[in-house]
C-alpha cells in the first residue's frame, strides 16, 4: 500500500458518482501506521486523543471537569501480548462515505482525509455498520459519530507525537 491512491484503479468506483475525487487523480496522503511489535498497550494515545478533542485542551480539566468526557477517536485492541490502536484509515475507497445517508461524510479531494460534517450527521450509525476496521465511535449524548480526523491543524497527530515507544508512525508510504 502506498500513500498514493489512484482513483481509476478502483474496482467499483464507477458505481459511486458522488465521490469527490475525480477519475485519474493522484492523492498525496500521509497516514498513521501501527508498529504492533512495539505497542506496549499503555493507552496514552487514547489519553492524548481525548485531550486533543476536548474543549479546554488541558489534561486535568478535560478529564475532571468536562462532561461528557471527550471521546477518544481511536480504540485499543488488546489480547496479551498483542496490542495496537485502531482508528479511521481514511480509506482510498471509503465505505462510510458511500454509505452515509445524509452526505455528512466526505473525502477531501486534496488531502484525502475523510471528514465529517457534524451538522449533517443524524446518528443513524450506518457508517459504523460498514466500517471494516470498527474505527467509528458513537458520541451517544449528541447522537453523532466521531472518528479520527488526523488532528487537522497539527503538524502530526497527537497520538503519534505522544506514543512513548514510537509504535505509531505518521508516514507517506507503507512501513
Amino acid at each position: 500500500m502506498t500513500g498514493w491512491a489512484r482513483r481509476d484503479s478502483m474496482a467499483y468506483g464507477s458505481y459511486l458518482p458522488h465521490i469527490a475525487i475525480p477519475k485519474g487523480r493522484l492523492i498525496y496522503m500521509r497516514r498513521i501506521y501501527i508498529k504492533e511489535e512495539v505497542c506496549i498497550g499503555c493507552h496514552l494515545c487514547e489519553v492524548y486523543c481525548q485531550l486533543q478533542h476536548s474543549q479546554s485542551r488541558d489534561l486535568i480539566k478535560a478529564f475532571k471537569r468536562e462532561s461528557p468526557r471527550p471521546l477518544s477517536r481511536l480504540r485499543m485492541e488488546e489480547k496479551r501480548p498483542v496490542s495496537f490502536s485502531v482508528r479511521c484509515q481514511h480509506c482510498d475507497e471509503s465505505p462510510c462515505v458511500y454509505a452515509c445517508l445524509t452526505g455528512a461524510l466526505s473525502r477531501d479531494p486534496d488531502s484525502g482525509v475523510v471528514n465529517v460534517d457534524e451538522e449533517r450527521c443524524i446518528g443513524c450509525w450506518t457508517c459504523i455498520l460498514v466500517c471494516p476496521f470498527g474505527a467509528i465511535r458513537q458520541e451517544s449524548l449528541q447522537r453523532k459519530m466521531v472518528k479520527c480526523d488526523l488532528c487537522q491543524g497539527e503538524d502530526m497527530p497527537v497520538c503519534v507525537t505522544n506514543c512513548p515507544n514510537e509504535a505509531l508512525v505518521y508516514a507517506e508510504t507503507d512501513i
Binding site: 508498529k35 511489535e37 498497550g41 493507552h43 496514552l44 478529564f63 501480548p81 496490542s83 505522544n162 509504535a167
Partner: protein, 501 residues
C-alpha cells in the same frame, strides 16, 4: 503464612491531578495500581511497590510519586532494617534469597577517592573542539618487539589479531534469556553504530543478530549454550567466561519458564527446560586446562580473532591473570565486586569478590612486573558509572571497560533489583513477550549510542585538560591519578600517590 514484611515505599497519588486514565495500572508489572470501577478511582497496593519508576515516568499528569516508607525499627547499627528483612524473608520462605543487579552494600568505591590531573602553566592543555583527539583502542595481544624490514621498512613482525574500538567502552555480557532480544538488538545496533563491541553473554546469539557479528563478542561459558561453528565464525572476539563479579564461583540458572521457543532455539536446549550453567567449567580445573580450551577455540577460529578470558575479581586475581596470559588469553576481563547479574544468591552478590579498582591495579602491576603486560589487553567491568570512571580505569591500567548496568539504565532501568523476578516493568530483564516490547530497539539503539557519544566527548575533554591528545598516553599512566582519603596500603596497591604529593 502472614508476612511480617512491611511496605518499602509509600505511593502518593495527587487526587487533584489523577485523571483515572489507568496508564499506571497497565504499566505496573507488580500489581501496585488498580482501578476501582465502582468509585471510578485508581488506587494502590503499595506493599507491592519495588520503586522502579515506570508509573511515575508514564503518568501523563505527573500525579504520581513514591517515597521511602518512613516506618522505622529502633535504631541499631548491627540490626539494620535490611538485615531484619532478609531474616524475615527467609523465615517465611525457607529458601536462599535471590536478587538482581550488583552489590548494593557500602563497600568503598575507589573511583570516588581518585582524582584526575590537568595541565596548568608548565604544559598546555588541548581544546578538543579545535584539535583532533584520539580514543582509538586496539584490543589483542601485542608483540614483544617490533621488527621492520630493512629495505622496505614494512613491518616484519607478524601481529596477533587486533580489534579496533572507536570508544574504549563496550557493552558487558548479558545473556539472551536474562535480557530480551530487543535489548540484545539495541546493544548490537548501538555498538555497530559507535564502533565498539557488545557481548552476547552465555545464552547464544539469535540468528537475527548475526548481521552485527563484526561488533559482537560471543561468550563460551560453562553451560556452552548456543555454541556452534557459525556462532564462533560471525563473532569478532570469543570470550571464555570463568566467573562473574556478581556471583564469583557460582553457576547460572535460567528457569524453564524463561526458556521460550526463541530462547530454546538460540541456546540449543529444549523449550521449557531449566538452563543450568555449572559453577565451574568442568573441563577447566587448572591453567593448563584453560590453555587447552583457549587453543581449541583458537584452532576453531583459525587464529583470526582474539580469545578473551573473563574472571570475577577475587583475592588471587593477579596470580590467576598471569596464568591466563600464559595460557594464551589475548584479552583478560576482570569483573569486580559491584558487577551485576540477572539473578544471584544475595549472600554471594553482597559478600564475595574484591573491588575492581584493586583487582585492576594489582593485575596490571603484576603483569608489568612479569614483563607480559603487552601479551594481553585488560578489560574491566563492574560498576563503571561515568566517563570519569572510564578515564580513571584507563589511567589505572585498563585497555577498555565494559558497561552493563549503565547501559541498562540508559534503556530505562531504575536499578530496582527485581531482575530475578522476570517481571521487569521496563521490559529489559524479562522474556514475557508483552513486556519485552517495552524496549523498542530503534529507541534503545539511539539511547545507547547517545550515551557512548556523550561519554566519548567527555573523555576527550578530560584528555584535553591533561594536555594529552590520545587515550594511549593515559593508559596505565597512574601519575595522572591522585588518591583522596585513602590509607597508605590502599595507595600502595593502587600505585597512586596521595593528593598533594
Amino acid at each position: 503464612m502472614k508476612t511480617y514484611l512491611t511496605s518499602k515505599f509509600l505511593v502518593e497519588r495527587d487526587p487533584e491531578r489523577c485523571i483515572q486514565c489507568q496508564v499506571c495500572v497497565n504499566q505496573c508489572t507488580f500489581d501496585v495500581h488498580y482501578y476501582d470501577t465502582e468509585d471510578d478511582e485508581v488506587r494502590s497496593r503499595e506493599e507491592n511497590c519495588v520503586g522502579c519508576h515506570r508509573c511515575v515516568a508514564f503518568c501523563p499528569t505527573q500525579a504520581l510519586t513514591f517515597k521511602k516508607n518512613p516506618l522505622d525499627y529502633r535504631e541499631n547499627y548491627n540490626w539494620r532494617p535490611d538485615v531484619i528483612e532478609d531474616i524475615l524473608k527467609q523465615a517465611e520462605t525457607g529458601g536462599m534469597l535471590l536478587t538482581g543487579m550488583g552489590n548494593d552494600k557500602g563497600y568503598r568505591i575507589y573511583w570516588d577517592h581518585l582524582v584526575l590531573n590537568a595541565s596548568q602553566v608548565t604544559n598546555p592543555s588541548i581544546d578538543p573542539l579545535r584539535e583532533p583527539m584520539e580514543l582509538t583502542t586496539y584490543l589483542g595481544r601485542k608483540p614483544d618487539r617490533v621488527e621492520l624490514d630493512r629495505e622496505s621498512f614494512n613491518l616484519k613482525t607478524e601481529l596477533a589479531p587486533q580489534v579496533k574500538l572507536e570508544v574504549p567502552v563496550m557493552f558487558a555480557a548479558m545473556s539472551y534469556g536474562a535480557v530480551s532480544l530487543n535489548v540484545h538488538e539495541s546493544l548490537a545496533r548501538a555498538a555497530t553504530e559507535t564502533g565498539t563491541l557488545w557481548n552476547t553473554g552465555e545464552g547464544g546469539l539469535h540468528s537475527k543478530l548475526h548481521q552485527y557479528g563484526n561488533n559482537t563478542i560471543v561468550q563460551v561459558a560453562s553451560g556452552r549454550f548456543g555454541v556452534h561453528p557459525e556462532y564462533l565464525d560471525v563473532a569478532r572476539v570469543v570470550e571464555i567466561k570463568i566467573g562473574q563479579g556478581a556471583k564469583p564461583g557460582i553457576g547460572g540458572h535460567l528457569p524453564g519458564e524463561k526458556v521460550s521457543a526463541e530462547v530454546s532455539m538460540t541456546r540449543m536446549i529444549p523449550q521449557g527446560t531449566d538452563a543450568l550453567s555449572p559453577a565451574p567449567q568442568h573441563d577447566i580445573y587448572s591453567i593448563e586446562d584453560l590453555a587447552q580450551l583457549v587453543y581449541a577455540l583458537k584452532e576453531a577460529i583459525n587464529y583470526t580473532k582474539p580469545v578473551a578470558v573473563k574472571i570475577a575479581a577475587v583475592h588471587n586475581s593477579a596470580a590467576i591473570a598471569s596464568g591466563m596470559v600464559r595460557a594464551g588469553a589475548d584479552i583478560i576481563v576482570l569483573d569486580g565486586l559491584r558487577g551485576a547479574t540477572g539473578a544471584a544468591p544475595k549472600v554471594i552478590r553482597d559478600n564475595v569478590g574484591i573491588p575492581i579498582e584493586m583487582a585492576l591495579a594489582s593485575v596490571d602491576s603484576r603483569l608489568r612486573q612479569e614483563g607480559i603486560r603487552n601479551q594481553a589487553s585488560i578489560v574491566i567491568s563492574g560498576g563503571i558509572r561515568s566517563s570519569g570512571d572510564v578515564a580513571k580505569a584507563i589511567a589505572l591500567g585498563a585497555d577498555a571497560v565494559y558497561i552493563g548496568t549503565a547501559a541498562l539504565v540508559a534503556l530505562g532501568c531504575a536499578v530496582c533489583q527485581q531482575c530475578h523476578t522476570g517481571k521487569c516493568a521496563w521490559g529489559i530483564c524479562t522474556t514475557d513477550l508483552a513486556l519485552t516490547k517495552r524496549v523498542n530497539p530503534d529507541i534503545g539503539a539511539r539511547r545507547l549510542a547517545n550515551l557512548l557519544r556523550g561519554w566519548s566527548l567527555e573523555l576527550k575533554d578530560i584528555l584535553g585538560g591533561m594536555g594529552i591528545n590520545a587515550l594511549e598516553s593515559l593508559r596505565g599512566n597512574r601519575l595522572h591519578l591522585r588518591g583522596v582519603g585513602l590509607t597508605d596500603t590502599e595507595l600502595e596497591i593502587l600505585g597512586v600517590r596521595m593528593a598533594g604529593n
